[in-house]
């Protein structure tokens, strides 16, 4: 199944790296969307169906945690799996995010193999579900 993926990060460099990494990883991609913060991401989601969200946490205007909380309030959007890609290292924060529905956490810096394995785990679970 080719995926529509939304990349949410305030760094254009990081978004470019993730796009490149996704290309190297071999994950089948249909559409790639980008947003520079949580508010832009919600605007994208208003017009486009997305199968997977890759999101940073520390962003201006609307950060990742606030975005995740807003998505969890929408009956449809809350079903979109979210993988957080961040410098965050706190297990306390990671567990808090998972309790809000985040499916996986990838810490920066990451390798293509890590992204591929995590996405395959998530999308494999989606296919079975």
């Amino acid at each position: 199944m080719a995926l529509n993926i939304l990349i949410v990060d305030d760094s254009g460099t990081v978004r470019a790296v993730i796009k490149k990494t996704l290309g190297i990883s071999g994950i089948p991609i249909n559409e790639l969307y980008e947003a520079g913060n949580g508010k832009e991401a919600i605007d994208v989601l208003a017009d486009a169906w997305v199968d997977l969200i890759l999101a940073d946490l520390n962003m201006p205007i609307m950060g990742g945690v606030e975005m995740i909380e807003k998505l969890s309030e929408d009956g449809i959007l809350k079903k979109i799996p979210i993988i957080v890609i961040s410098t965050e290292g706190s297990q306390t924060r990671i567990e808090e995010l998972k309790s809000k529905g985040v499916r996986a956490f990838i810490r920066k810096p990451f390798t293509p193999e890590i992204i591929k394995n995590v996405i395959e785990d998530i999308t494999g679970a989606l296919d079975e579900g």
């Binding site: 760094s11 254009g12 520390n58 410098t87 706190s90 920066k108 810096p109």
Partner: protein
């Protein structure tokens, strides 16, 4: 800055420079630092708060930022956008800080890390930062790098 914090900062930065930027870095003495007097210079800065509260700054030649961006993005210099260099040094600082705070405070500590900012600086600014007792010096692929961690609260006295 406490000597053990300096060592942690140095180790984390060198590791991140390698893994994130594919650049080889080593901590050097100020007298061993490659010359920066003729370079255009940039400094990135961020604030963090939590169990430890403080700031992290990095200063490098702008040409190193272009090399950094090219390495990270896998692009030749002529393919880089004007914002890519500044973005790359901000992200290097961001990733260094996240890993540093975990190394200093442990995996249970929660931090708020503000978005980094970057701006061009003068040779005078570079010399001022070089003169700060908390500043560490690195040679990263023959580029001079200044790195300064300032902890304002939360550190054991």
């Amino acid at each position: 800055m406490k000597a053990d914090n300096q060592e942690v900062l140095s180790d984390v930065f060198i590791e991140i420079a390698g893994k994130f930027a594919f650049m080889f870095g080593e901590k050097v003495g100020q007298d061993e630092l490659p010359d920066a007097d003729d370079d255009d210079l940039i400094r990135a800065h961020l604030d963090f708060k939590g169990q430890l509260t403080g700031t992290l700054d990095i200063a490098v030649p702008i040409m190193m930022c272009r090399e950094l961006a090219g390495n990270v993005l896998g692009l030749a210099d002529e393919e880089l956008t004007p914002d890519a260099s500044k973005d790359a040094i901000k992200e290097l600082l961001n990733v260094t800080c996240g890993n540093l705070l975990t190394a200093l405070a442990g995996e249970e500590a929660v931090f708020e890390v503000c978005a980094p900012e970057a701006a061009v600086i003068t040779v005078t600014d570079w010399k001022d930062m070089s003169g700060n007792e908390d500043t560490l010096f690195f040679n990263v692929d023959e580029n001079p790098v200044l790195l300064r961690l300032s902890i304002e609260s939360g550190e054991d006295q």
